[in-house]
């Protein structure tokens, strides 16, 4: 990371930021500062080639609220003089009103950090390169039908510091991500691929390799014979990955407070109403450990907490950022996130999932006479206004007479009306996993890391095409 901050240095940052905030609040109603110090390194390896890149994204955002709107600016320079000038310039046009001097509040100081089992900083680059070399070789050797393989190993280490007149929080987050892709060619020359991903805090991700290779290899071979599905309604079992995507795309976006405030969320008319069976709950929880969307406080200094979007079938609470939460006069959930210091914060998800149930996933499959097991997808799109569901690039396997059979489908689209889908959830499994993750966008921009996972779901009459 760009800044080495021991406790002494952190105290200096606290003092500097407090001084800047006090200066800004001579004019602004409130002010805060967000520092992001992010280091990412990645090794990208395919059959014949390898590349490595390492990047640092460091910056400081200063933000002031003038009573009606926010004004914010940013810099990549950690320089007291520059920051002071920026702070003065930021608020210079805010008229000085008869403002009550903000009470001197003792700052609440909190420090958070994620722990890992194997610190990647203690693992040599040679060992990491060897990992990627071995993975590519093993994926290719899984079958002679696999024509190419690719692996991405990525490490992210980040410190975020938030300061306001009442808070000084810092969090150290770390993630290691492994993505594997296996390519096959069908008889008529079409390239297909399967992939798997995992996220851990540290180099302990190495332990997932064998399991992932088996999965990605098996799925790749299944891809060879995968057909397009005949459009229609099917009984479907959603894997943890798919159930996470459903929770995220089809419901989660519609519970973001800025979406609700702008009259774009159908959910507003359903707060407190039952929309799903009592065994269905949907949660967003940033502090769930070791996941792609994990954090301890949001980018507006609100502590992260577990939020029930749906509890026992009833629509409950929004995921908030300050502006819309204040306008709607609702409680804050700690979900304000920005892509980086030079982006605005929006209400965003983190780790969003269906709460686990009581059913056995094996018994769920055994109970389906004719249906599809939906395994993974390339992504989805939200429709908060109409509650339309759209999941794309889904890979599935046929279930016949209670058993998974060797019949596969590729590029399935899952659509439908959310209320119908939720009402048709018949079973929720006790098995639960959140393995991978990806990036979530808001209007094809403002990308933040989120996880994907949850229990298996058995749903009747799912529209597939």
């Amino acid at each position: 990371m760009a800044l080495k901050l021991d406790n002494k240095a952190l105290k200096k940052v606290q003092d500097l930021f407090s001084a800047l905030i006090n200066m800004m609040e001579e004019r602004a109603e409130s002010a805060d500062i967000l520092l992001i110090d992010h280091k990412e390194s990645s090794i990208n390896r395919d059959n014949d080639n390898i590349d490595f890149s390492e990047g640092i994204d460091f910056g400081i955002k200063l933000r002031a609220f003038d009573g009606e709107k926010y004004i914010e600016t940013h810099t990549t320079e950690f320089d007291e003089q520059k920051l002071t000038l920026l702070a003065k310039t930021l608020v210079k046009d805010i008229p000085v009103k008869n403002k009550k001097k903000n009470k001197t509040i003792k700052q609440s100081v909190k420090k958070f950090s994620e722990k890992c089992k194997i610190n990647p900083a203690k693992i040599t680059l040679q060992e990491k390169i060897k990992l990627t070399n071995d993975v590519v070789a093993k994926v290719k050797n899984f079958s002679d039908k696999i024509t190419a393989a690719r692996v991405l190993y990525e490490e992210n280490a980040e410190r975020r510091i938030y300061a306001s007149n009442s808070k000084f929080y810092s969090q150290d987050l770390m993630k290691s991500t492994l993505v594997m892709i296996a390519y096959v060619k069908t008889a008529d020359g079409e390239t297909r691929y399967s992939y798997d991903s995992a996220v851990r805090n540290g180099f302990e991700i190495k332990k997932e390799v064998d399991k992932m290779i088996k999965k990605v290899g098996k799925d790749a071979l299944s891809m060879l014979s995968a057909k397009k599905i005949k459009p229609g309604k099917y009984t479907a079992i959603l894997s943890p990955d798919l159930s996470g995507l459903l929770a995220h795309e089809s419901f989660g976006h519609g519970m973001e407070s800025d979406t609700a405030f702008n009259d774009r969320a159908k959910s507003v008319g359903f707060i407190g109403k039952k929309i799903a069976p009592s065994y269905v709950s949907i949660i967003d929880y940033p502090k769930i450990s070791t996941k792609h969307g994990t954090y301890f406080f949001d980018d507006e200094g609100n502590l992260a907490k577990k939020t029930y979007l749906v509890r026992s079938g009833v629509v409950k609470d929004f995921l908030t950022e300050d502006f819309s939460a204040n306008m709607m006069k609702i409680k804050k959930s700690g979900n304000a996130r920005c892509e980086s210091f030079d982006h605005k914060s929006y209400a965003r998800m983190s780790n969003t999932y269906f709460e686990k149930g009581k059913e056995s996933s094996k018994k769920m499959i055994a109970s389906v006479k004719d249906g599809i097991y939906l395994i993974h997808a390339s992504g989805g799109m939200e429709d908060p206004k109409s509650w339309g569901v759209q999941l794309q690039g889904v890979f599935g396997q046929r279930i016949k007479d209670g058993k998974l059979v060797d019949e596969y489908y590729t590029d399935i689209g899952v659509t439908g009306y959310l209320l119908t889908i939720l009402s048709n959830i018949r079973k929720v499994s006790k098995e639960f996993e959140i393995e991978g993750g990806g990036s979530c966008g808001k209007g094809h921009k403002e990308w933040v890391p989120v996880s994907s996972g949850g229990p298996f779901l058995l749903i009747d009459e799912v529209e597939l095409s």
Binding site: E54, I56, K69, T147, Y183, D258, D263, Q390
Partner: protein, 450 residues
């Protein structure tokens, strides 16, 4: 990176005998963003500068070429710079690829203009005034249309200057501007979202954008789900942009032209051979980084290869790979330079003929087609071209009449689609798409529960 730091860095690099070649890259970004919530109320005004610097270096390692790419933090002391370069050299001994020639001296660089001169303006107040003016232009136009509300409006202005200094003694720079309008409108219980991104601020035309969106959202508010359909599909407005320039990755027809994919034996293209079995209009796609004021107007790529206009597919025949220096050397071809603005050649039919369903092959006019103006998300499988995309707004076109619909899934395969297509003679320019205004694809399927 301050000039004196850059000078010191270059002096150190020049003394390092083990380094084969290097590039010092600097990128400076300046932005001004306005965010409005419902009814055009300002929520946030954001402005600021961002700079990032990178060092890319290459060295020979046992007959292979080692490489590393690393951020280069500001304000390092000389000793810290030496250490950073030591680290980069060490990484390059481990990250090795089969031999290629990373850097070459090139002739002249082109002079296409890819930025808006408005950004020569130094006074930040002028940008705030400009953003307010654009917002008011958008809202004033909306007021002329009944039954429409503004849910969200975002206007982003961005200026990007990049500079590269290389071990060959070259020093080149390029400047781009990227300006975006993003809006969500509501009418009754329906919404419509659209984004417009242009190099020049004035090309955003907030009033025109608002007018088009207003028509679309009003139609969305009157729309029902479509019936399932097999037949002609017309793509227009946002949908044709999404088809040729999807947001997540290149259209598969362009992606298979990438040198990397050919080297990995994933691309199905062969030089000089058709990319599909064309029965109607044959596709011609050109990469054009030299067109003025395109979003992908560039002078050079990451390897400093000069930009050039290059035909990728000509009348359905694959002509040229899009490739970095490394993969060009592996494939024993010339590097292409950057992938530029996507130019799709106009077709054989007028817009009128397309909507009338004129078909040379059958000699008949199809009586009915479905026109799609916007997808929820068009995201084809990058390799197979398969997709199923939900329709955010479309029209049933029959006997000269258009009836709006919303919903249903268009399913298909990009490579199959282009085999049976007509492209309009009329063209548009939007962002980095320069191509037909509308396109008709035959024998398509819209799946719907109706």
């Amino acid at each position: 990176m301050k000039p004196e730091q850059k000078k010191a860095l270059i002096e150190i690099l020049k003394k390092r005998k083990n380094i084969l070649s290097w590039l010092v890259l600097t990128r400076k970004e300046r932005k001004y963003n306005l965010y409005c919530v419902k009814n055009g109320v300002d929520e946030n005004f954001l402005y600021g500068d961002k700079e990032s610097d990178f060092l890319v270096l290459y060295r020979e390692v046992n007959g292979m070429i080692g490489e590393s790419t690393m951020s280069f933090p500001k304000d390092l002391t000389k000793d810290e710079m030496e250490k950073k370069i030591d680290d980069a050299e060490f990484v390059a001994t481990l990250i090795k690829n089969p031999r290629f020639n990373p850097l070459e001296k090139y002739g002249n660089y082109p002079n296409a203009t890819g930025y808006d001169k408005f950004f020569d303006e130094k006074d930040p107040k002028r940008y705030e005034t400009k953003l307010d003016a654009m917002k008011n232009e958008f809202i004033d136009e909306l007021k002329k249309h009944k039954n429409i509300r503004l849910a969200n409006l975002e206007i982003f202005l961005k200026d990007i200057v990049s500079e590269v200094t290389t071990s060959l003694g070259g020093n080149i720079s390029q400047r781009r501007t990227e300006n975006m309008l993003y809006a969500i409108l509501l009418s009754a219980d329906k919404e419509f979202a659209s984004t417009k991104t242009e190099c020049r601020i004035d090309d955003l035309d907030p009033a025109g954008f608002a007018r088009q969106m207003a028509t679309t959202v009003l139609d969305a508010s009157k729309s029902d789900k479509p019936k399932s359909f097999e037949g002609d599909i017309i793509l227009s407005q946002d949908a044709i942009l999404e088809f040729f320039c999807p947001s997540m990755h290149e259209n598969p027809a362009v992606l298979h032209a990438f040198g990397r994919l050919k080297h990995m034996k994933i691309s199905k293209y062969e030089l000089g051979k058709p990319i599909a079995d064309f029965k109607r209009d044959r596709l011609t796609i050109t990469s054009n980084p030299l067109a003025d004021y395109g979003l992908r107007t560039l002078k050079y790529d990451g390897d400093t290869v000069p930009a050039q206009k290059m035909v990728i597919i000509e009348n359905g025949i694959f002509k040229n790979f899009v490739t970095t220096k490394m993969y060009a050397d592996y494939l024993k071809i010339k590097p292409s330079g950057p992938l530029g603005n996507i130019e799709v050649a106009s077709g054989s039919k007028s817009e009128k003929e397309i909507y009338a369903g004129v078909d040379d092959l059958s000699g008949k006019k199809s009586g009915k087609s479905y026109e799609i103006v916007s997808f929820a998300w068009f995201n084809p499988n990058p390799f197979s071209g398969e997709f199923s995309a939900e329709i955010r707004l479309g029209y049933v076109v029959e006997n000269g009449k258009k009836t709006p619909f919303k919903g249903g899934m268009l399913t298909g395969n990009v490579f199959k689609m282009i085999e049976n297509a007509y492209y309009s003679k009329e063209t548009i320019k939007s962002g980095y798409y320069f191509g037909p205004k509308v396109a008709l694809f035959k024998d398509m399927t819209v799946a719907s529960e109706e």
